[in-house]
Symmetry: C2
């Protein structure tokens, strides 16, 4: 059975699968009768199985964090993962999972529901970050790993890493949280809720029953633009584009069409995502982020973080990130310290906002390298 | 001739008009064969005509800044304007103009084009902040005022005040710029461009030819939500709403409908604006803000600000404003100082973001009062 047929391009010879053919319980009460979890891995698992590093991704990437012999195309964190790199695959066995609910090999709303033979679409049960973490756990356990050297992730991936360490404290030795949050803020909820509304408002969305070959592109394009605006920073846009204008191009003649370079940039980048992500999967993952609140695992998010049993923790935030601001990173670091945990808290001056971890390798790589080498 | 029939509610017994029945030249080359400029005023013009204070508004308000005998309903800056208030109408003759291009009595895209007998819609010529300033100038000149005691305004109104003082330096004695900018940033352009795209994408917009009794409400609602998100701050939303949920209400049963209080707040406030502003007027004014760049009046915005001949200047910014950030207020203050001008630069810790001037009277009123009393 080929799940997610229309996004199979994201699955390569490097993609591996854990296939669970029994009920998978979800955090909010739903059940999936079977799941696939797609992942990739790099490096060698040590005989003692104590060098495994698990990466959870942000909302949109696949498990292809880095290139390999099986798939030479650059991954979304190419600078970070590889021989001699910060996540040194000469030393660590690095795993990256495609999130449950996504559409790059793992089971999600675009996957076929075995009960009906049709894609789940909105019949997919409520999805949470807890479920993404639990599904990731199935991967390392299937490989005979009972305890991770390190779990890490940026953005939604940081949330997944945090909640894995909270729910399964005996299985996580070190934790790296990048531009994440202990609970989603109402500002972030407002942005994501509006992105979802823009998509849902597109008549082609059709209450989730869109044609896979004719998805709600207007809604996706505008929702993506709002994403791009909030994933980067005013400082970066000022530096890259200023008030430069760019004439020519397809949309100019429309009244109020793009005129400034920043508008063309948004248009170009929004067009690029069309056809590369399933819309219902996006809606489910976006809402999972809104729902994320570690206080579900304790009286407060601080209590929940007190359950973590890691020996060392690294919390990274970026000053120009206004979607997951420094104050939220500080909350995570403070709560861990309050419980006597060892915490390295790094505030970076990268100008790329929330997306800095994808781009600013000169700041991110040395910090991760340092933490991973135990310095 | 009754212009802007559908928004006549915004015109009351307090509304006055300057009616110019000859060509009005616009900054980008267009011509309006006639214009009306709606305004309100409070207090008495002194015999020497030297106590006139002109207020320019942000994008959406009418000229009704404060209540009066003729119109007792509270105005948009009620706390600021009145007897004994910061803009003391016992001392000053205060004028507030409805911007050219708006729909509350002043000529704009919803007004009837005398050449056709039909509303201008997209046949309205290119509109700039310079035109808003020039139209405001017609008001005080029609009242026999050759020099203003003070010109002030928040947001787009601050831009209007700045460019009036640059274009007509002999006519402005004091200047107050609140949460404005010397040139629109690419970040702000990105937000406004997306708001306009969301509106234009609504099929009911119909390239500007919508029915006035059936406007593009979906686009307006979602564009307004993006406005609300960017006019306030993450800190305010965290304080007011946190992660509180609110069930019940019309939209709950829709898949992915509102759940958190912040979502209901956005929904409620977006619904409130429907029917209260003309869509084409909004598009013209929004683009006028994007186009705003004082460097059109000099080699750079700094040079342009050097043309100002005021005796004192007040520049106010709000720390939580990420749409017109403190850095942009600092730019205005620095440029004025660089030219040897007297500048008071106030950074406020209000949590209401860009909209703070509307709400945070405890911080704003004393600063304006102090400046106006010459202390």
């Amino acid at each position: 059975m080929a799940a997610n047929i229309q996004f199979s391009k994201a699955v390569s010879n490097a993609t591996r699968f854990v296939r669970i053919r029994k009920d998978f319980q979800l955090f909010r009460g739903g059940v999936l009768p079977e799941i696939d979890i797609a992942y990739e891995c790099w490096g060698q698992l040590s005989p003692r199985r104590d060098n495994a590093v698990l990466i959870f991704t942000g909302l949109s990437p696949s498990a292809h964090a880095a290139s390999s012999l099986e798939d030479a195309t650059p991954g979304w964190w190419e600078y970070m993962v590889g021989p001699g790199k910060a996540l040194d695959t000469g030393k660590f066995f690095v795993i990256c999972v495609n999130s449950l609910g996504s559409c790059f090999g793992s089971t999600g709303p675009a996957s076929v529901n075995p009960a009906t033979g049709q894609p789940y679409r909105l019949a997919f049960p409520d999805l949470t970050v807890e479920d993404i973490a639990s599904a990731g756990r199935q991967v390392y356990r299937s490989l005979g790993i009972s305890r991770l050297h390190t779990v890490l992730g940026p953005s939604m991936g940081g949330m997944s890493a945090l909640v894995l360490a909270v729910m399964f404290p005996e299985e996580v030795t070190r934790l790296v949280s990048i531009s994440a949050a202990a609970q989603s803020s109402p500002f972030g909820i407002a942005i994501r809720s509006l992105q979802r509304e823009i998509i849902r408002n597109d008549p082609k969305w059709n209450n989730g029953d869109y044609r896979f070959d004719d998805p709600p592109t207007d809604g996706i394009r505008m929702g993506r633009k709002l994403g791009l605006i909030t994933y980067r920073s005013a400082a970066e846009y000022a530096q890259r584009f200023g008030r430069k204008r760019k004439f020519g191009g397809h949309a100019d003649r429309a009244p109020f069409g793009p005129e400034f370079e920043i508008e063309h940039y948004l248009e170009h980048n929004a067009e690029k995502v069309l056809g590369h992500f399933d819309t219902n999967c996006y809606l489910y993952l976006s809402r999972a982020i809104d729902w994320f609140d570690l206080s579900a695992h304790g009286g407060s998010y601080e209590d929940a973080l007190g359950r973590i049993k890691t020996v060392d923790n690294l919390v990274i935030g970026v000053r120009t990130d206004f979607l997951f601001p420094i104050s939220q990173q500080q909350e995570i670091a403070d709560a861990l310290r309050q419980h006597g945990k060892s915490v390295r808290f790094q505030v970076l001056e990268s100008i790329q906002g929330h997306d800095s971890f994808l781009i600013d390798q000169d700041r991110f790589a040395p910090i991760i390298r340092d933490f991973m080498s135990g310095n």
